[in-house]
């Protein structure tokens, strides 16, 4: 136990650096993933060609099934090593849940609401931005939350291609046989994931507070 504490007190600048790298990689991946997946999800809702939807969902699903270690390795010849390929790999993982939830969220908007919006003179863009997007926000936010939690956990692997992060502590710990280092890296990732989940939960509640409140009042 004393080794544990002395490790923290002696090496806290390194730990903080690893934490910061970890956060940067994870959140870049999620934010970029959201920027890519939400518009694609919206396009799919409006797409009338059935097979395109299936194809896109298939590809997004496929990314999800590639073992992360393998995906990182595949990206080395394409993008080299470092932060960028790590973010790209994690971004690919984040697509599916956000895409799926955006699509489902848009589908869930009541047809009567859409009919009346159209009949009252909402343009297509206004319908998306002012009606469908706010109404599907609970879905999209929960997609982002799910993604964030496991992207943070998977980001520990990014250290294998030299992107740093908490995974670096684990890998180094293994190399020099220092269990406390492995421990700090692992627990750090867990705590980070839990905190991110909690904060996003608060954000989700805040963004949808009125809607949610009134919905529960109606039940």
């Amino acid at each position: 136990m004393s080794e544990f504490w002395s490790f923290i007190t002696e090496r806290y600048p390194d730990i903080l650096l690893a934490l910061r790298q970890h956060l940067t990689i994870s959140f870049s991946a999620v934010i970029l993933g959201t920027i890519v997946a939400v518009p694609i999800g919206i396009l799919l809702v409006y797409n009338r060609v059935g097979w395109i939807n299936s194809a896109v969902f298939f590809i997004a699903n496929l990314f999800q099934t590639i073992p992360s270690l393998a995906l990182l390795a595949i990206l080395i010849p394409l993008l080299g090593i470092g932060v960028k390929p790590a973010i790209l790999a994690l971004l690919l993982y984040s697509l599916m849940p956000i895409l799926r939830n955006t699509y489902d969220g848009f589908q869930s908007v009541d047809k009567g609401v859409l009919n009346s919006a159209k009949g009252m003179g909402y343009s297509a863009a206004q319908t998306i931005l002012k009606i469908q997007l706010p109404l599907s926000l609970p879905y999209i936010m929960s997609g982002i939350r799910i993604t964030t939690v496991y992207i943070i956990s998977w980001a520990t692997l990014a250290s294998l291609i030299g992107a740093g992060g908490l995974g670096q502590l684990i890998v180094s710990g293994l190399g020099v046989n220092k269990p406390e280092m492995i421990f700090i890296g692992g627990i750090g990732a867990v705590v980070l994931a839990l905190v991110a989940d909690g904060l996003l939960g608060l954000l989700e509640g805040w963004l949808t507070r009125r809607y949610r409140q009134t919905r529960s009042a109606a039940v």
Partner: protein, 389 residues
């Protein structure tokens, strides 16, 4: 004024939804499009705000062909109310009402004033309801908001697509009354789609009756009721309503129209216990006794049967009392009522020339008949049980 000029609608699959529709919707009138489902009434209405475009023919609003207009702009100038209400659940009531003024970029103060005025107009106190959300309102309140939302930008034309048909009967009546009241104040050009003839007669200035994508008859409610164009119209209006509306052909109903045709009867050789069992299962308090030729022999009441119950060998023939009053088939209802009234009878049997029992006029059957002739005055029907005799 809105004119539909030789409008046809043919869908890609070849379905001919509208066949050469020529119509004129007068300014400041409520025109009701009515017909069975699939007759094209909704499709016709949606031509006006370009939710539906004609395959051939023209739609003119105040002389202007709307095919040349931007549909989004056009819709902002036409109020639109639908059956499922379609309030936006993420916006409060004030924002919902203000949707079109907002799209038209009115300034905030003007919007607020308008919203308050409209909420008060339909009896929703704006200090209470402005900040409520749609899910906090009852169905009737929600549709009130739906209606004023269609008025918020001072639209002259309002399209209403079965707006009240999802509401409970009481709310529906209230909203119909309110619409009539609002229309007296506002004088909008309203196109109202429904499949409910009572609703159409109540609110319409002009009724347009449609079937299979064609117009069957157009006219004032009174004119359609008095001079239905064909059997379809007659059936759609309902025969009894025709009789009650058309005083010239009003006939005094006969007992045969009013009587219950399957009253509870028993043969004379039935035992008393059987008689009680029958009355119990049919929920009546007396039985008419008829022989094999359906000739009326007499009647027994439950009291009489219970009095004599101790004597096991007796049959209903032994305890029945003769029927003192009956009316002949073909008598008028007033004759039967007169008889019931002067002799304090709860019912009177109807017999033919050979004293054969045809049916029974009861107080209940008279009320039921009146309710059918005057459907608007009908009290809510009690849960269906046997007719007490």
């Amino acid at each position: 004024m809105i004119v539909l000029d030789h409008v046809n609608k043919v869908y890609d699959d070849g379905f001919h939804a509208l066949k050469d529709i020529n119509l004129e919707f007068k300014k400041g009138e409520i025109t009701v499009l009515i017909g069975p489902s699939g007759c094209g009434k909704s499709t016709t209405m949606k031509l006006i705000n370009a939710l539906n475009t004609p395959s051939s023919g023209k739609v003119l609003i105040d002389g202007k062909d709307i095919s040349g207009l931007n549909p989004v702009e056009l819709r902002r100038n036409i109020g639109y109310v639908i059956q499922s209400v379609g309030l936006f659940p993420h916006m409060n009531i004030a924002k919902n009402v203000a949707v079109v003024p907002h799209l038209k970029k009115w300034d905030k103060e003007k919007i607020d004033r308008k919203v308050n005025e409209l909420l008060d107009l339909v009896g929703l106190d704006h200090t209470i309801y402005r900040n409520r959300y749609p899910s906090e309102l009852s169905g009737g309140q929600q549709q009130r908001v739906g209606v004023i939302r269609a008025l918020a930008a001072d639209q002259d034309i309002i399209l209403m697509d079965e707006p009240f048909s999802a509401l409970d009967p009481i709310s529906r009546e209230q909203l119909q009354d309110e619409l009539i009241r609002l229309q007296q104040e506002l004088n909008k050009t309203i196109i109202f789609v429904t499949h409910d003839m009572d609703e159409a007669i109540k609110i319409a200035d002009t009724i347009v009756l449609m079937k299979d994508g064609q117009i069957v008859q157009t006219g004032k409610p009174e004119a359609i009721l008095r001079h239905p164009a064909n059997d379809f119209v007659r059936n759609f209006i309902g025969q009894k309503r025709l009789q009650s509306e058309n005083e010239l052909s009003y006939e005094i109903p006969l007992v045969d129209d009013v009587m219950i045709t399957n009253p509870v009867t028993a043969f004379p050789n039935r035992g008393l216990a059987e008689a009680i069992k029958m009355m119990e299962s049919k929920r009546v308090d007396s039985l008419f006794i008829v022989d094999r030729n359906k000739q009326l022999q007499g009647a027994v009441s439950i009291y009489r049967v219970l009095d004599m119950y101790g004597e096991e060998g007796k049959t209903v023939a032994d305890v029945m009392i003769p029927v003192r009053f009956s009316v002949a088939s073909g008598s008028t209802l007033p004759q039967a009522i007169e008889l019931m009234d002067s002799h304090q009878l709860s019912n009177v049997p109807v017999v033919d020339g050979n004293n054969r029992f045809l049916g029974l006029v009861t107080r209940g059957s008279v009320v039921k008949h009146l309710a059918e002739v005057y459907p608007n005055l009908a009290p809510p029907q009690p849960a269906g049980e046997g007719e007490p005799v």
